[in-house]
Amino acid sequence: MKKTISLDVNGATYETAAEPQDTLLDVLRGNLRLTGTKKGCETGNCGACTVLFDGNAVDSCLILALEAEGHKIITIEGLADASKLHPLQQAFIKYGAIQCGYCTPGMLLSAKALLDRLPRANEEDIRKGLEGNLCRCTGYKQIVEAVEAVVRGEFK
């Protein structure tokens, strides 16, 4: 049975109807058409569906949509300002941290959660902070370098 819920996503409030068995990922992608959040494994092992949940990185495939009411959710669509890309987005593009791009939204949000907590994260912190995001293309090196560049303040 569908229930009407109210979700706070990227600073806007959405009223939508969800089944109890719908995950937050299902509702973001299906109901809200915020398809930047990717479906990779659906069991919390790949991180492609990472969103920020009250500022923390979480796997949206492991949260029921009905449990997400009352929390502030940020998806990849909410990372950039209207006028310009977030420094992490700029760095990912400039440093070759993107290949197929499927892990990128989740990777960026994990990186944001990390830097919000540890603005001076070193390489080890970055690797640990991105541990929950699998990438099959890059070997992670250029991703880590991009985050390091943001830590250095190379992008505003």
Binding site: K3, E19, P20, Q21, T23, E42, T43, G44, N45, G47, T50, F53, N56, A57, V58, D59, C61, L62, I63, L64, L66, E67, S110, A113, L114, K128, G129, E131, G132
Partner: protein, 291 residues
């Protein structure tokens, strides 16, 4: 990979939650973080609850505080909070470390300390260190409250000793006495995000002469439940700890574990690793006291 249909219940008090659970018995499951429950509910080979009892409307179950000589951790406290709590780090840095080295950041931000215990995986990373620390669980039910040691909470792979209508509300850990340290060492062939192939927790208290006065050793992932290694403890207790003694205790632990072959490691390899990791954990715990 859809979750099978269920009825979603959101009691607004613990009393109500317990009643609902009692009413539906084995048809109901508690939803805390959900990182284990939802994965099971997406797998058609698992049996699925018809009622999911969400605790999201129940306030006051998410806290870490020091209360006299006890550490009190609310059942819904996130693993990430355990990992980063200054209170926990000060008392038992190894417990924080254990939380910080399980699963992934995303899962630590959702999963809860009580959820990790209630899920009752043989490899649950929170169990061996809490057992070694003689931690207790406070449990409520329509019949009232009870307190049980964590080391009598596990009843088999995926099974705990909760009765119908019961909910874990709090984990209580005694604060460390003098000359005491805990060490939890997890081993998995890949990085920490993996499920432990072997986990060993050692809690040590030394006497004023530097000998081991008391020792509790628990092994994770090498039997149906996390288990105690009393013979290994006996090797240590009353003695001065060094490499040779630690190795002997490790060897003893090998005889006490009952590992299985699975996709993560063979039983033979797990037995070998129990010896290595137990030895290392004893030495680390010892260093923790003398440091």
């Amino acid at each position: 990979m859809r979750i099978t249909k269920f009825e979603y219940l959101t009691p607004s008090s613990l009393e109500e939650a317990c009643l609902v659970l009692q009413q539906h018995g084995s048809q109901a499951a508690v939803l805390a973080g959900g990182t284990d429950l939802l994965v099971k509910m997406k797998n058609p080979r698992h049996s699925h609850p018809q009622y999911v009892v969400s605790l999201k409307n129940i306030q006051g179950l998410e806290y870490i505080r020091r209360d006299k000589d006890m550490l009190r951790i609310g059942a819904l406290t996130k693993l990430d909070a355990v990992a980063n709590s200054e209170v926990i780090k000060t008392a038992y840095s190894s417990l924080a470390f254990a939380a910080d080295n399980m699963a992934t950041p995303q899962i630590r931000n959702i999963g809860t300390i009580a959820g990790n215990l209630c899920n009752a995986a043989r490899s649950a990373d929170m169990a061996p260190p809490l057992m070694a620390l003689e931690a207790l669980l406070n449990i409520v039910s329509p019949q009232g409250t009870r307190t049980i040691p964590v080391d009598s909470f596990f009843a088999g792979q995926g099974k705990n000793t909760l009765r119908s209508g019961e909910i874990v509300t709090e984990v209580v850990i005694p604060l460390p006495p003098a000359r005491f340290a805990l060490w939890y060492q997890k081993f998995s062939p890949r990085s920490a995000r993996d499920i432990a192939a072997v986990g060993v927790a050692v809690a040590l208290r030394l006497d004023s002469g530097g000998k081991c006065e008391k020792c509790r050793i628990f092994l994770g992932a090498v039997a149906d439940t996390p288990i105690r290694a009393p013979l290994s403890e006996a090797v240590i207790t009353g003695n001065k700890i060094d490499e040779v003694l630690a190795a002997a205790a490790g060897k003893q632990a090998v005889s006490e574990c009952r590992p299985i072959d699975d996709n993560r490691a063979t039983a033979d390899y797990r037995r070998h690793i129990v010896g290595v990791v137990t030895k290392d954990a004893i030495l680390e715990a010892y260093r923790g006291v003398v440091a």
